[in-house]
């Protein structure tokens, strides 16, 4: 079996020759290929920016979900205070579920951070190479015969092509990772929206209602007890007077 290294080398070389094969006579299309490189550099910049944006969105989503977990905890406490162990248990179970998901997201986020740094480096390298190609193409035009120019251009374009293949793969991988994280975050959110978690956090939710009923109930009982006491002692006093 061929090794990973030789396989990767072969793939990159095939990728480059496909790229160069698309160009017609490179010496005629020198300026054109430079323009295409600049376009692709723009694609790369956009790709990197997309990953950065997605990462920020995920961070926001994650911190929102972390707040939900805190809410669940305080509601479980409230339920315990109200003597409703069943409600507290449900809240804690859901809290544990959400926490598990969040932990997975945290791990993935740190991987994404590394990939983002690599992407920034790749973008910088590609930009430097495209700029070097711009300079070199003028030298090639001015100094070389057509046949020599052909060789020089192919060399330079291959160097850029290799960097493009690397960058393209890095963007693709970062994007896949981001999508994977988005799916995870969406799954937690779905739990929230389906009423599993949200029930505990929105004002009109079931647990809140029950807790409100309990506390209203407690209040009623308390007041009733107080009134009974007052009325009772009043009645006793009356009795004493009469």
């Amino acid at each position: 079996m061929a090794g990973l290294m030789s396989r990767t080398s072969t793939l990159v070389k095939a990728w480059i020759s496909k790229l160069l094969g698309q160009a017609e006579d490179p010496s005629v299309t020198l300026d054109y290929s430079y323009e295409r490189q600049r376009e692709q550099l723009q694609n790369v910049k956009r790709g990197v920016a997309d990953v950065v944006t997605a990462k920020k969105r995920l961070e926001l989503q994650t911190s929102k979900l972390e707040q939900e977990v805190v809410k669940l905890e305080s509601q479980a406490r409230q339920a315990v205070g109200a003597g409703r162990e069943d409600l507290a248990r449900t809240a804690l179970e859901r809290k544990a579920l959400a926490q598990q998901q969040l932990q997975g997201l945290d791990q993935q986020a740190s991987g994404l951070e590394q990939q983002q740094q690599k992407l920034t480096g790749a973008e910088r390298r590609l930009a430097a190479k495209v700029e070097a190609f711009r300079t070199q193409k003028e030298v090639i035009k001015a100094q070389y015969s057509a046949a020599e120019a052909q060789v020089k251009i192919t060399e330079a374009a291959s160097g850029i092509g290799e960097e493009m293949a690397d960058t393209g793969l890095a963007i693709e991988r970062a994007r896949e990772k981001t999508e994977d994280m988005q799916a995870r975050a969406a799954a937690v959110e779905e739990l929230v929206e389906a009423g599993t978690l949200e029930d505990f956090t929105s004002s009109s939710d079931q647990l809140d209602r029950e807790l409100a009923q309990i506390s209203a109930g407690t209040q009623v009982e308390d007041e009733l007890a107080r009134m009974k006491k007052e009325v009772g002692s009043g009645a006793e006093q009356k009795e004493l007077k009469s």
Binding site: M5, L11, A14, L169
Partner: protein
Amino acid sequence: MIVRLMGEGQYRVDDSLQERLNELDDRAGAALEANDETELDKTLDEMFELVRREGEQLADDDLSTSDTVIPPSDTTLEEARQLMSQEGYIPDLAAI
């Protein structure tokens, strides 16, 4: 010779390094066959470290092509399998 570490750039290393890289590459291939993600991870890390330690990084604007390309150090088993499959897995920048 010039070696590219995917995601990290290119290094100029002594030709004699090829043999050690090949040994590590064999180990990575064996790890892939054994579905051993930890070993694959470790071996790719070793390849990256070896090239970083023994090599000299090329300037950003160097237009040389590489003699050898090493896949990303955090390549997963699944990605490695895709890499070895017919289609390969290098996307077109135009599609990005």
